[in-house]
Subunit: 382 residues, 2 copies
């Protein structure tokens, strides 16, 4: 039996081989069961996003009540965010891909937070000019995934502070240094910007309710590592008179180097596919990526490979196998030994090239309206 | 010899009988000497404000260098603030009275910060509506003291956050929880708003330099109790590329009840004259105020009274004896026994009534332009 400490998952650290079932039990969240998926499938008009169908979104808080409300004429809104410390990589798309799908199927509003202040506070090596510029670049990438300009609202922290601050003042009074210390592992040498920051990250959960003067439910799709943050948000929600945000948690996408979670922290840039990687770099990274294959072709033909540990299979699973049939075929032929890693990588490289081309074009198109989505004023004076 | 702990002076607590000389030595500040006063007198065109002439502003940091700069064609600006937790009382006017005088004599800009966010964080019993409303009421009172609409700029925190936040982001990265814990005595149960707040209070010291892209010196007249706060500001100034603010420290005004410093914390509303007290309340409070008089008229005639411990004398000294001759006469006749406390109070009551009348009229006049002084946008994007 595994020891409780062979993996660590917090908003500022993910380490070790994660047992997702045990993590869900540790955090005390609910399972995304077949019944929950059937419910979403029904409400979404007979469709299920691959990230749901393939079990990547596997855990939740209060999702059933949110869906009940939706079924009874009480629409919710979506909220997700991005800390702009550099270019996006493909695993950053996991929450936004799901949000685009929800927005399109249900016609609901999306709120995106770009935390250029928080990244400046969290990453000593970045200048303000850099976090602001990455914020804009990241925003273009996110919007280009297919968000509806009319239903998408962006809090770009340094530029939206007038809109956020009046509510952040109320939120901040409810949270102590002890609270953030417990959740984020802050120490006395943490800067006071980062200490304050969680107030601003909670605000979007409540903002539409504040603006509209009625309870508007919120759904936050996020990595399971972000759950502790939103537990804090949920704890203070009722005291402020707002509904607790519902959460939908994804597993972490493994990195190309085959260790834990996709992350380029510490300069490990080959662990991830950046959206601004040129085709030759994409090809080099994928050719070098860790797979679940065997030592020799002969052995693989005979024994088959192991998709569950393969970084290439993870990419097919989270984004690049668009149809269920395609995904099942890759998984089956990988396991049986019919599909060899070289061929599988070759096919994925083609898919990624195609996506990057389409994405670059979509990204150019959103630039004409991206600024119009940034919220710059508060709905009420205080 | 007095023990080192028979008085406590921090930004959040003032207690005991303060030995101002020793406090200055503890804090390591410089003395406002006769030479410094002569310098100000000269630069101000042959005039000295009573608060300077009577030794209420008695301590400073870097004031001489600031005056040298001014003499060499390098003007400075003034900065002071107010935490709007209720109506102003007369001791709150000490920094602003001096600033009006400096602004008029030297023609320099004044920046006023109204910290309606901080008071909400610091005082659990106040609502946001209350701190915002008191902020506006207090601002009218402050502007009515005679500030020049063309040279006066107000940071009303919740409304000026767009202007303040870009610089606050940079400031906040330089300050740790340890720093604010040491300065303000914060504990793990302090809310994260208050922890962050010092960043916003430092911003006005640097704002004109940021806006103008050159070093603009700053003078902060404040109670000596606020020195620890601005020490933190001074410590981070150079790392941000801005000049350290110079400070000019006042002694604390004793309360009407004769204990330590004028303060209405804990509901001791009879300790202070509020600017919105009706005439009958002013009269009642002053008639009941603690004096330096003797037990009987006979004794007072014979032995004289003690102005230094008298709350009425403190009011003459800090504001209501407009001429030096008047102030000297009161002091002399009090000490000699010629002036009895009842007569002295009667004369002060007349003066206060007259000031309140003039002030109410001035306050009505500033309402037409007060809003125009509130800064609502940043001079630069980041």
């Amino acid at each position: 039996m595994a020891e409780p400490d062979d993996f660590v998952v917090t908003p500022y650290e993910v380490r070790g081989k994660i047992d997702y079932t045990r993590l869900r039990e540790q955090f005390g969240t609910e399972e995304v069961t077949a019944q929950v998926l059937a419910r979403i499938h029904h409400l979404a008009g007979g469709e299920l996003h691959p990230l749901l169908a393939r079990g990547i979104y596997y855990s939740h808080r209060d999702l059933v009540a949110l869906l009940d409300g939706y079924a009874n004429g009480r629409p919710f809104f979506l909220y997700s965010g991005r800390g702009p410390s550099g270019p996006l990589h493909t695993s950053h798309l996991v929450p936004f891909d799901l949000c685009v799908w929800f927005q399109r199927r249900l016609g609901i509003p999306m709120y995106i937070q770009i935390t250029d202040d928080e990244k400046f506070w969290a990453k000593g090596g970045l200048t303000r000019e850099e976090t602001a510029q990455w914020g804009l670049e990241n925003l273009y990438d996110i919007l280009a995934l297919g968000f509806d300009p009319k239903r998408t609202h962006v809090f770009f922290d340094s530029r939206s502070i007038s809109a956020l601050y009046p509510l952040a003042i109320r939120v901040a009074r409810k949270i102590t240094f002890s609270n953030v210390k417990a959740v984020f592992g802050f120490t006395p040498s943490t800067n006071i910007g980062l200490v304050f920051y969680t107030a601003l990250q909670s605000v979007p959960c409540f903002w539409p309710s504040w603006a509209e003067g009625r309870a508007v439910p919120c759904l936050v799709p996020c990595g399971i590592d972000q759950d502790p943050h939103f537990r804090l948000t949920r704890d203070i929600a009722e005291g402020l008179g707002y509904p607790k945000p519902a959460l939908l948690h994804s597993q972490m996408v493994p990195g190309l180097l085959g260790e834990g979670v996709m992350s380029t922290t510490g300069g490990r840039t080959d662990d991830a596919l950046y959206l601004n990687d040129p085709p030759a770099v994409v090809e080099r990274k994928l050719r070098a990526a860790f797979t679940g294959g065997r030592a020799t072709v002969e052995e693989q033909r005979r024994l088959g490979a192991t998709p569950e540990i393969c970084s290439i299979w993870a990419l097919w699973r989270t984004r690049f196998a668009e149809s269920e049939a395609k995904f099942q075929e890759i998984t089956r032929t990988c396991r049986s030994g019919e599909l060899l890693c070289g061929d599988c990588k070759g096919e994925l490289i083609e898919r990624v090239h195609k996506f990057y081309e389409q994405h670059a074009a979509a990204r150019d198109r959103v630039k004409s309206w991206a600024e119009s989505t940034i919220v710059t004023s508060a709905p009420k004076p205080i």
